[in-house]
Amino acid sequence: MRMSVPLRRLRQAPRHLLVCEKSHARHARSRHAAHVRDHAYNCRVSFLIPECGTLPEVLKSTIADVGEYYLLRNLSLHELVTHEFIDTFVKKGSCHALTYNTKIDQDNTAALLPTGKLILSVDKDTYEELGLQGRPSQYSGKKVMRYIITIDLMDPSFHPDSKKHKRVLWALKEKKPLEFDFLLAWCNTGAEGSTLMSYFPKNQIQTLKPKITFSTLRDLQCPVLQSNELQGKPEESCSTEELFEWLGAVLNQVSLDNKSFSFLSTYCCPQPNTIVEQAFLCTITGFIIPEAIIQLLEKLCCYFDEPKLAHWLTLTVHGFADSPVSWRESEHGFHKGGENLYNFVVFRNLDYWLQMAVGTNDDCPP
């Protein structure tokens, strides 16, 4: 009886969640744009179009327009709380910031959401030294080792003379100065004003463009899907879980043929499947803001305006493993893996499946 306890634990995998949703892209109440917008930090976007050999015309300009982002070195956290920064960037447009080279389960991490909330995920020592009000992390267990501090920069009571602002500034500037490397992106809502490049000193800030790669996959086995059958029908179509696994295998270049001499993977493409001659895969890596992904999704829906051989295409977006939030302000943690990703499968008739997946220390996606 006693000895079975360790064996029982081995049989359980760490918790992970996959949420699947089905809707139509042109439906009035479709929430696809809302879901994309809620997921603020995206590090990789890939789309796969079966029966396609090159980048389609409709997508060429969108790919070229994926915005650039900035890397700031050694930025003191209190600079993000000064009213100059708030008035110039946070209030005019949507500003996304995330600390770079910090691990969510070991170090302090900070993130600025486009809604104006600054989220600090700090360890116990830093929290006690900082002196700001926060709450213990949900995934901390009995001995709390991690605290989350949320500062709402857009709060009307956060004006320059308020006690709140003075306290926050004192804590971040004098009590426990914190310095991080930040990834920043700013989407300007049209108003003229200074840009990030001119606001920060030249030696601190660096502009980076997302990395874009294209590849054409030959003789790919693709599962057969029916848009109204989420669970799949035996002999007729595959379920969403099977598609999700297959897509993971394809994006990671895992071979699907289960050769007898291969010891790395025995994964086979789910049945029923067809063999497509070619499929186009494009991957964009960087610090990508949700607005760019919404544009890309729109253009991918426009791909089906003309008749095409493909029955469906997929758009996969990965979030940062070390970001303190996944969707909206749900806390994100890293246990043995920090995945928080979502995947759209868009069909010819503009039905879509949306799959959202999170790892162990995560809330259920919305």
Binding site: P6, N101, K103, D105, Q106, K143, M145, R146, K336, T360
Partner: protein
């Protein structure tokens, strides 16, 4: 959660070997390591030497992979005791013992295990993984140790090297888990070569084999190591107060006969 730490890297005389070990540990993601100096009383009388400070040994510490901080190097002393008289060294006031960040003891008999858990002023109690345990763990001393903040250390490198030791590691660890229920465990390597080091998440997975839960296993490589370090620091700071009182004419022994906490109050 705290940063990952490996509290047992044998400190040999070979500086280049140590440097490559440090680089491997930093590349795997450990934010802190402790260089272990072992004193075995079975051999002829050994002196506790002053540990070389890390800044002298390593001119430039490698940066931990995935962050921008440098790896922290600490000093640790392990005493292998097989006789109660060996413990007197811990009670003595050799100046050098205060220079170590962590003090560990490796008891070889049941009586010494009991003494280590209940009375000795140490941070870690090492559990033998290379041979069959000569004694069974009993609940009372283990519970007292957990209350005092002492952690039990399990090594994993012997399991990599030899299959017989692998069996002993797993059986000894599981018998410890049945008594302590996964609390107060620290897992470390005793890696002499960089190839014997494993990443922190892999070591946490090994903890699952021993019967710990997911969070306990991850804590064994991160939070519990941090707690051990803090335990070592409290030991240093209390004794530090004793030292500032030292008057030049008084003999050292007279001062330290008074318990440390009494001294702390008068000096506050």
């Amino acid at each position: 959660m705290a940063g990952f730490a490996d509290l047992n890297l044998p400190a040999g005389p070979d500086k280049k070997g140590l440097q490559s070990l440090l680089e491997a540990a930093a590349r795997l993601g450990y934010s802190a390591v402790a260089l272990n100096h072992v004193i075995d009383f079975k051999e002829k009388k050994q002196e506790i030497v002053k540990p070389a400070s890390p800044s002298e040994l390593f001119p430039s510490l490698p940066i931990v992979q995935g962050t921008s901080k440098r790896i922290k190097v600490l000093n640790r002393l392990t005493l292998i005791v097989s006789d109660p008289s060996h413990c007197n060294l811990l009670r003595s006031t050799s100046a050098n013992i205060r220079l170590y960040d962590i003090i560990a003891v490796f008891p070889k008999t049941e009586k010494l295990f009991h003494i280590a858990c209940t009375t000795l002023d140490v941070d870690l109690v090492c559990i033998n993984v290379t041979e069959k345990l000569p004694f069974y763990f009993r609940r009372p001393p283990v519970n007292v140790a957990i209350d005092r903040g002492i952690y039990f250390e399990l090594l994993y490198t012997p399991a990599i090297k030899d299959s017989t030791m692998r069996r002993y590691t797993i059986s000894n660890a599981i018998s410890l888990m049945q008594i302590c229920k996964g609390k107060n465990i620290v897992m470390s390597s005793a890696a002499e070569r960089p190839l014997e080091l494993r990443g922190p998440y892999d070591v946490a997975n090994l903890g699952l084999l021993f019967g710990m839960s997911e969070s306990e296993a991850k804590a064994a490589v991160s939070t519990n190591c941090r707690a051990t370090l803090l335990h070592g620091e409290t030991r240093k700071s209390a004794c530090g107060v004793v030292y500032t009182v030292k008057k030049p004419r008084k003999v050292e022994e007279e001062e330290t006969t008074l318990p440390a906490c009494k001294k702390a109050k008068t000096q506050a």
